[in-house]
Every structure is written in C-alpha cells, then in structure tokens.
C-alpha cells in the first residue's frame, strides 16, 4: 500500500515529520517498507536569476548567460530556446548530480567559453517530461533552495511517497483514510471529517438492478447511479499526479476516479459505459462455461457458482474482481453507470484464486471492505464525477440490503492490563477505542463496520496495546515454574537422538540434514514411493515423495560429493522416515553411510577399503551409547536394498530389530549413481528398550585376585557355519568359569578342502573360588570341544 504525505494530510491534520509518521506507522503494525522522498534527490538545486544572455560567438543556438547564483555572478552557457535575461531559473552548480541526465555537473568549456553550471528543465530534474526549455519560476530568491521553493509553491513535486505492508487483518488500512485514523488515534494529528454532499437526482433511470435469490448470501447489496452526458477525458493534474506517485497509470477521468477511491477510502467501484449495457443488470451465480473478456484483455471461462454481473446479453463483469472489456468506459463514454457493491470475502477469494486474477478490487474485497460505506462511497464518486465532468445524475438504483455487521464486545480494562503487562489506564483504553471508531456503551465496545477483523474481546486488547505502543513495553521477569535448580526436560528419546549424533560424530561421521522428500525413483528403491507418501504439489520432481528412510537422501548426498571429487566419506543423519501419509506415520531413524576407504592412503599403510565390519562396529557403538543391551542376535533377511549375503540385523528376538548393517545392493548403488561399494547402518532408536531401573547406582564390581587363564582352540567347520554359533556354544560350556570367547582367526579353503573353514577362538577362563589346576583346565577344554562339536558339527583342528 502506497500513499503520499500530502494525500495522507488530505485526511489527517498534522505537523509531524515524515520520519515521525514512518516510525509511528511501523510501531502501529503498519510496517513501513520504504519512503521515497524526491526532495532528497533535488536537495542541491538552488534558484538563480539571469542578468544577461548573449549569443555564443561560435554557436547559433547557444547563449552565454550571466547568472546571479548562491555563489555570486556566474557564467553559464545554455542551449534552451527560452534562456534570456530577466527570468528566475533553477541552477545545478558544479558538483551537483542531475538525475534526468544521470550526470554530475562539472566546470567545462563549451565551444571555447567556460561554463560554471547548468540551468535545468523539469525533465532534467525528473519532475515531469517537460523539456521545451529551462524552468522559469514565477518567484524565488537567488540562492534559495529549490526544494524549499517547491514545498511552498508546488508541494506535490516534493511529496514523499510512503509504502507500508498491510497484514491480512487490516483491510481498513488499505485506504489512506484508515491509515490516517490509526495515526490520529496514536496522537499524531487530528482526523479530518469526511462528508459528502450527494448530487441531487434529476431523473429516474430505466435501468433496473436485481440480485438472484441464491446469490444474496454472497452479494447482499448492490447500488449505483446513472450519469448522463458526462465529458470523459484525462484527469485533472492533481489526480494524475497522485495516481502516478503510487505507481498507477492514469487512464481516463472516469476510471481514475474509481482507482482513486479504491486507495483513498478502500472503496472499490466500477464504471459501466451505460450505452454498452443492454437491458437490465442482474447479479447472479454463473452456470459454468460462460466466457468473458475482462479489462486485462484476457478471456476467462466462468466456473459454476462464481458471481457475475450480467446484462441482457450475458456476463459483463466478474463481480468484485474485474470488469468486462465490452462495457468498460472509454474516452468517448458519455453515459456512465457508477457501481458500488459489497461482496462476500470468502466467495471473492475462491473465485479470484480459481480464475488466477490479482486485482486491486479482489485484494480488497477478499480482505473485507466496509459494507456500511457502500452507498456513501458511491455518493463520493458521483460527486467528484459530476463536479468535474458534469452530467445529469439519476436516482439511486439498488438491490438487496447493506448487511448488518453490528456487534459489540466487552472491554475488560483489567484483563487488558493483565494480558499486555502494561499499565494502561481505563480512560486511555476507552479513548483509544473511540479514536479508532468504536462506540462505547458502558463496557460494551461496538465495532465499526470497517473492522471485520475484530471478532472478540482479544481483538480489543490488541487495538489498545498497539495504539499504546508495544515499543514502550518493558520486560518483566517470568519466574521459574518451580523454585530451585531446573529439572531435566528432555525425554529419553530426545536424549538418545543427541547421544547418537554425538557418538556418530565422534566415530568420524559428518552429520547431514537432507530434505524429507526425495524423488520417486530413490523412494521406490528403498521401499517407499507409493501414493500415500506422495506430495500433491511438489516443488520439483526431485522432491516428490516423503522419504521412507534416510538412506536415499544420504546416498544422493554421497553421489554429489563423489561428483565433486570426494571419494572417501562417512555421512550420517538422525531424523524421521515416513511409512504412511497419515499424521504420526513417521519413525525415528539413525543412519550412517561409509564409502571409499577408511582414509586417504598413508605412509603407515593403515588405509583400506571400508567394509561391513566397519559399519557393524559403528552401529554397535551407537547402539551401546543409546543404551542397547550387549547381548543380541545377528539375523539375516533384511530388505532388498541390502546385499543379500553381506548384511545382518541386530535383533532382540526375530521380530525386535534394533538395527541393520551391511553392504548396500550393487544394483541399488548403481541406480543412485554411487561409484564403488558402500556400507551402511540403520538404527531404530525407539526399538531399543528403556532401562528397567531408574537408579544411578551401579552394581558392586566383582573383580577377583585369582589369575585368569587363556586357551586357544581351532575348529574345522562347514563354511556356512556362523562364528557366533560357535562362540555361543563355547561360552555355554561353563558359564561360571568362561569370561569371554573371542574369534581371532578365520581361514577358508586351502588344505581344509572346499566348503570348509577353520575358526580359531581364544577362551578366557576366570576362576572365582580357587586358582585353576591343569586338571580343571583340561576338564573345561573337553567340555568346550564337546559343545562346539555338537552345535556346529566341527572338529578340533589337530
């Protein structure tokens, strides 16, 4: 919303400066987005008086002028035809920037004669397009600032333009008068009275207006007056100037009047060329399929239920949004029908959105114009047209009733103080509301018709608070809800997320935050991509589906890094995957991806390609950090994006999967544009059981002084026997005595023959009663061999 200072002063009697007004507007909730002050650009131009003007000896069209300026008598060469002795002119002294020619004036020689400045035309100062000659001022003192002179004699030329942002709740501030009212309530001046002297009717028009019964709910009131014999043409200069100042193009007087009232009083109007209207006017809902060429020269096809204004020929205007081209006013219009109506905001919003029309009228009607002002607004426009363009005015033609929006809410002064936390006396509160147009009846505040946003007591609080100024609000400490040291506030799940992140980072992974949506192909590769998780209006096909888990996003990120030349990486993310499209169909995940080598090749020879045992170790470390039990099962049979033989599920029972680790399927990697192999892990932190006891106390440490003994065993087993089976069997041989069983060697094939392998384990025996004797060790060794043989079919290697 733009307006000029002088336009504002048309409604507000004030001496406040532009800065004071701008600060107040921002504080009131009408945020100033910009101020354009033409006086600033012209600040250096001063007034001079031409003493003499002689023809340039070497140029017919140039004159050598002697000019009195702020710097004393000055010689200036000028090419303007009107440059002559005895005129008062505007001088750009050397050093002055002249906006219209984008040049800073210097001292120069023109055809051999020195010139100390420039006498300017209006166009050179961007005041108008006038360039027939230099400005001749009717008055002005030598040396006087030109902008000061303009402010006194032609204030519109130095009129600051203020642009403010209007929040959706303030349609009233979409008119200059509404802005003025807010400023007056703040105490920055007095709101001038708004009166109109309606033009007396001189005839009764034949034109009739009707509103269909099924349309009255959305088009409750329509009125207009016919003016015969107007003389349309360009608008008067002041009107053109004001429209231009706010960025509107003057079209013709009749059209300009409607635009001006749209901005001045937030009262959109429409003018029909009455000679192009056939028969009567009818407001109704479209059947659907009707077409109409609007004033923007575009043809629109109406949808069923949309509001239209028709004559006997069919639709002529999209009600409240845009008029039709056929019945629009032109310079030749002599008989005009001026329309003022009230349209339902929701209906306008739906139609405007459906037809994709953004007009000033739609913008205002969908936010809500003042319904009660509908007939009065018409009278303002008719008065202006009649005064300027003449014509005979008909009786009021109307249909329907101005809707009753009267309502009142209780002003609870104490509640206002309690909510805002500012001591605003009751009298001030009442005064504020009155200044904004509320009528107070006891404690009941009757809402003015131009404030559709005020719908309850809370809105009264807001009005009082913003006029009182929230800038002045002083902070007051908010006491702790309970005294003393604050209690922990994170849930166990939240703690787990933090711990998981910091553990993964400590393991050398870089945390990523990738988009929650991925492309359909990537989603499908990882078990998602169905319609339930699809977006209706994705921003691009790369972001069409909610991610089923974190791997597609991480792999896409990895591919981008590979493309940048980074081949070794460890990435992780903690976030939600989506298994459905309903609220809550999301689950927390922790995923890490390892690609390339453990590090760059190095002098110590420690760098090697990453493999699934890296992923497994990292998954176990993160699981341990978030409190998962150490005793788990490793099962196979995870989803298809894992390498079928090279992955494992870390489980507490077949249905309780805490994590999956392993190599990713080569085909999936290929489709995700990953070069080389990749290993990964995924953890479901919410599957990890919560600790049973809440105590921080640890069990006492049981450390015996008796010496532990380690013994190694190697077994030859079938190649598909899993090491964990062997380890568990060995450990089960004597649960009291065996403290630990570790695999330290795996050897496949060779002299063992095909399908066989050797697994070597170290068993640590920790006695608790007495030092082990050789016989004890032999006894437990025999049991170990026995158990392992039974469990795996293996034999002790000789």
């Amino acid at each position: 919303m733009k307006f000029t200072l002088s336009w504002l002063k048309h409604h507000l009697d004030t001496d406040a400066s532009v800065t004071e007004i701008a600060d107040a507007l921002t504080d009131l909730g009408l945020e100033v987005e910009g101020i354009e002050n033409p006086a600033e650009r012209l600040a250096n131009f001063t007034i001079g008086y031409v003493q003499s003007a002689e023809k340039h000896p070497d140029a017919d069209k140039l004159r050598v002028c002697q000019v009195d300026t702020k710097d004393g008598p000055t010689q200036i060469i000028c090419g303007a035809p009107n440059a002559r002795a005895g005129i008062t002119v505007v001088i750009a002294a050397p050093g002055t920037y002249v906006p219209g020619i984008d040049t800073t004036i210097g001292v120069g020689k023109i055809r051999g004669i020195e010139s100390y400045g420039m006498m300017c035309s209006e166009r050179e100062m961007e005041l108008s397009d006038e360039h027939d000659g230099i400005i001749e001022l009717p008055s002005g003192e030598v040396g006087q600032s030109f902008t000061d002179w303009l402010a006194l004699h032609d204030p519109a030329k130095v009129d600051p333009v203020i642009e403010i942002a209007i929040t959706p709740n303030r349609p009233d501030a979409l008119g200059v008068r509404g802005v003025a009212r807010d400023l007056a309530a703040r105490g920055l001046g007095t709101l001038k009275p708004l009166t109109v002297d309606p033009v007396p009717a001189s005839f009764v028009a034949d034109l009739k207006v009707s509103i269909d019964d099924d349309t009255l709910d959305v088009a409750p009131f329509f009125c207009g007056r016919l003016i015969r014999g107007v003389k349309n043409g360009p608008s008067p200069a002041w009107l053109q100037q004001q429209l231009r100042a706010i960025g509107l193009r003057p079209i013709s007087f009749l059209v300009d009047v409607t635009n001006w009232f749209t901005y001045d009083l937030n009262r959109p109007l429409h003018v029909f060329d009455a000679d192009k209207v056939t028969g009567n006017i009818r407001v109704h809902r479209a059947k659907g399929g009707e077409t109409l060429t609007a004033l923007d020269d575009k043809t629109y096809t109406l949808q069923p239920g949309q509001m239209v204004i028709s004559d006997d020929n069919g639709p002529e205007s999209i009600a409240g949004i845009m008029g039709g081209l056929d019945t629009g006013c032109t310079m030749d219009t002599v008989n005009v029908f001026v329309e003022s109506a009230y349209w339902d905001p929701i209906q306008i919003a739906h139609t405007g959105r459906a037809l994709k029309i953004n007009s000033d009228a739609r913008y205002r009607f969908e936010r809500g114009v003042d319904p009660a002002f509908t007939p009065e607004g018409l009278e303002h426009a008719v008065r202006m047209i009649s005064d300027h363009a003449g014509g005979a005015v008909s009786e009021l033609i109307k249909a329907g009733q101005v809707p009753d929006t009267s309502r009142a809410y209780r002003l609870d002064a104490k509640r206002v103080i309690s909510l805002v936390g500012m001591d605003i006396p009751e009298a001030t509160q009442r005064q504020t509301l009155c200044a904004l147009g509320f009528r107070l009846d006891g404690n009941m505040a009757h809402v003015p018709s131009w404030r559709p946003d005020v719908q309850g007591e809370a809105d009264l609080v807001e009005e009082v608070a913003r006029i009182a100024s929230l800038t002045k609000l002083q902070g007051k400490p908010l006491p702790r809800s309970a005294p003393g040291v604050p209690k922990p506030i994170l849930t166990p799940g939240q703690v787990r997320q933090q711990v998981a992140k910091r553990t993964a980072a400590a393991l050398g992974y870089n945390e990523c935050v990738t988009y929650s949506f991925v492309d359909a192909q990537a989603a499908r590769l990882f078990g998602g991509g169905d319609d339930a998780t699809m977006l209706e209006n994705p921003i691009s096909s790369e972001m069409s589906h909610m991610r089923p888990n974190l791997l597609p996003g991480l792999l896409r990120a990895a591919a981008r890094n590979q493309a940048r030349g980074f081949m070794d990486m460890a990435l992780f993310e903690v976030g939600a995957g989506f298994h459905g499209g309903e609220p809550g169909e999301q689950h927390m995940l922790i995923s890490g991806v390892l690609i390339g080598r453990t590090g760059p090749k190095d002098v110590h020879g420690t760098s090697r390609p990453v493999d699934l045992y890296d992923a497994k170790a990292d998954a176990e470390a993160v699981l341990a950090a978030i409190g998962a039990p150490a005793k788990v099962q490793i099962l196979r049979g995870a989803e298809g994006w894992w390498h079928p033989g090279r992955h494992g599920k870390i489980c507490l029972g077949p249905k309780k999967v805490l994590a999956v680790f392993g190599e990713l399927h080569p085909k999936v990697l290929q489709e995700m544009d990953i070069k080389g192999a990749a290993v990964a892990f995924t953890i479901w932190p919410d599957e990890v059981p919560l600790p049973r006891s809440k105590t921080a106390t640890r069990p006492a440490l049981a450390a015996t002084d008796l010496q532990a003994v380690e013994r190694d065993f190697a077994f030859v087993v079938d190649a598909e026997v899993e090491a964990l089976t062997l380890v568990n069997a060995a450990a089960g041989a004597d649960k009291a005595l065996i403290a630990d069983v570790r695999v330290f060697d795996e050897f496949i094939g060779g002299s063992l023959g095909a399908g066989k392998k050797s697994l070597a384990v170290t068993v640590r025996l920790q006695p608790t009663e007495a030092t082990l004797k050789d016989t004890d060790i032999e006894a437990v060794s025999a049991k170990i061999v026995d158990k392992v043989t039974k469990a795996t079919g293996g034999v002790l290697r000789g």
């Binding site: 309690s418 800038t471 929650s516 339930a532 977006l535 209706e536 609220p583």
Partner: protein, 357 residues
C-alpha cells in the same frame, strides 16, 4: 691388602663387557676367588690378627661387589645408549589418520536453544511432520478461506480417489505441536517445539524445508511483558552478549492477539553482524499472546489461562550467529561445508561451559 684392592678396582674399571665383569667376580669373590681364599685364611689367624684383618677383608669384599655392580650398570647403560643412537624415526611423518566427524549447525543450534529454554523451565515437545489441516490451520484460528493459508505456500499430500477428506499438509510451522501438547498436558505448560517445517518456496533465502523453534508458556497471569523478558534473556544468552535491545512492533498473526514482530538492535559493520550495538534493527521472530480460540481448540479454558507463544527460524539464527551465508547449503551435504561449519562431537553446548567456543 691395598695392593689386592687396587688391582681389582683397576681391572673392573677396565672391563669391556658383562662377561669380563662376571670373570672378575669369579676371580675375586668366587668360591675359589682370591679374596674368598683370603677370607678362608682368617681361621688360621690369631684372634688379634683376625680382629684387624677380618673387617678389612669384609670391607674389601663389599667394595669390590659394589664396583662390579656399578660397572655392570654403566656397561648396560652404554649398550642401551648405543642402541638408541641407531633408533631414529622421522617424527615429521604424519600420525595415523583419524576421521574427524562433525555435528550439523541445525543440531548444534537446536541444542543451544534447548539449553537456554530448559533453564527457564521449558520442556521440548515434538509432533508429526505430516499434519491434518485441522491441527496446522483450523486449530490455530486460520479458517479455510484465510489469506494466510494461501500465503504460506503449503505442501499438500496426495489423496487417493474416493478419499474425500481434505488433504493433509506438511506442517508449515511447528505450532500444531503446541496444540497437541496442550491437548495432552493441559495448562499450565511451558514448552518449546523445534523441528522441520515445509513451505513450497525455493530461492537464495527460502528452501522448501527449514527448521523452526516455537515456544509456548501458559499460566494464570503470564503477560506480554513476561514474553518480552523471556525473549530478551534468550537473545542475550544465545548471542552471548551482556546487553541487547529488543523492539516489539505490533503485527498480526491469526494465532496470537496482540501480536508483535520482534527486532534486535545490531550493526552490520564490515559485513559481520554484531548484536546489541549499532543502529540497525534485525527482525528475528514473531510472537504474541495466544489467541483465546487457539486455547479453546486445544481444550484449555481461555477464561482461566493465558500466555504467550513465539516462533523463529533455527536455520536463520544459526546463519546470524555463525555467519553462514546461504540457506540452501544447509541441506546440500557438501563435505567441505559440513567440515567448515560443523561442530566437534564433544562441543556440547551448556550454560555453565558456554554455548560456543
């Protein structure tokens, strides 16, 4: 006796290796050693003679023993020195490489914000990212026709043919979490709701996904003045400055009334943000007193309870504090960016240790 002493001490001093030391020991103090033989002769002496020769011999024996041990240790030291002289490594070679992981600024800043608000008694609430339009809009006093709905560039989820419910949305703010939380816990309550939010917009300063943290405090007598204090305290703590001016400007949000945009005083001298000084104002958040209709929608009686809510962008305050220029890079996972703007695993922000290092 003196002769014997000097003879052996000289020989020990001249010994070249451990073997000659052992030879000398046998030769002097061995069973048949010279000094041992002399000791045996003591028995044949008269008591007077013995009284003189005995202690002298014993002293000699001790002295030779010590000399042998000292020489042995000196030889071992010399041998070790000689070995160590050959054991030279190029210490300028790099140590064994270790990967250095990082925490994303979003996680770090979320923890910072959490630490500050936890101290003021705010818990952390979370909720679904796919929301019903009731929780995302209606419950927050944004009815179907409200212009704010269109202005929010909402993402909608697909509806199967025949499913006539209004489409779900990707939450456009974390406010629905406030509703869900109040439904569960009622009043009084103090929570912050950090998390991902979505709006269909993409340019240098907008990404279709970003992060918000909203706060909510409901009690019997919480006022907008309390809100201002909480935000002042937050801004000071977060930006780690002693003083900051914050400015409330009247504004409008459907879910609060009165509403205020909040600016902080800052300077942009030399292109870097300094909070708490200068003449510029930086808009960092929106806030207000919770609208009675919102309380009602969440099952809290607005005649009994009142309070404030606020919301700000986590990504945005991360950019401001840590000088990160481009929002889009947050979600690109460029390793160079992650390493440059990321935080060390053990840089856990705390109030007692400081939020940043």
């Amino acid at each position: 006796m003196d002769e014997l002493r000097s003879k052996y001490l000289n020989m020990i001093a001249d010994a070249a290796d451990e073997a000659s030391i052992e030879d000398l020991r046998v030769q002097s103090l061995g069973k048949k050693g010279e000094i041992s033989m002399k000791m045996r002769e003591l028995g044949k002496m008269s008591p007077e003679e013995r009284q003189v020769a005995g202690p002298a011999l014993n002293a000699l024996k001790d002295e030779i023993n010590s000399a042998l041990a000292a020489k042995k240790a000196a030889l071992a030291d010399a041998a070790l020195d000689a070995r160590l002289r050959t054991e030279w490594l190029d210490v300028s070679l790099p140590g064994r490489a270790r990967r250095r992981g990082t925490i994303h600024p979003i996680s770090q800043v979320t923890e910072e914000v959490t630490a500050i608000f936890a101290d003021m008694g705010f818990a952390v609430a979370e909720g679904p990212q796919i929301e019903s339009d009731w929780y995302n809009f209606d419950a927050l006093n944004i009815p179907g026709h409200h212009p704010a709905r269109a202005e929010m560039d909402t993402f909608y989820t697909h509806r199967a043919p025949g499913d006539d419910r209004p489409p779900h949305v990707l939450r456009t703010h974390t406010s629905p979490v406030q509703i869900r939380s109040m439904e569960t816990t009622g009043a009084p309550t103090r929570i912050i709701c950090p998390g991902r939010v979505y709006r269909a917009d993409y340019d240098q300063t907008h990404t279709p996904m970003f992060h918000q943290v909203e706060g909510l405090a409901i009690d019997k007598d919480i006022s907008m003045a309390n809100l201002k204090w909480v935000l002042e305290e937050f801004v000071k703590a977060y930006f780690e400055v002693d003083h900051v001016d914050i400015r409330f400007r009247a504004s409008h949000f459907p879910f609060t009334e009165p509403s205020a945009e909040v600016d902080i005083r800052c300077s942009w001298e030399g292109g870097t943000l300094k909070v708490g000084e200068g003449d510029d104002w930086l808009e960092i958040l929106g806030s207000g007193m919770v609208h009675p209709k919102v309380l009602q929608a969440a099952g809290v009686d607005p005649t009994q309870w009142q309070g404030f809510a606020f919301g700000m962008g986590i990504d945005r305050i991360a950019m401001l504090k840590y000088g990160i220029p481009d929002l889009r890079a947050f979600f690109d996972s460029d390793l160079r960016w992650l390493r440059h703007y990321g935080f060390a695993a053990l840089d856990v922000p705390t109030l007692h240790g400081g939020l940043s290092r």
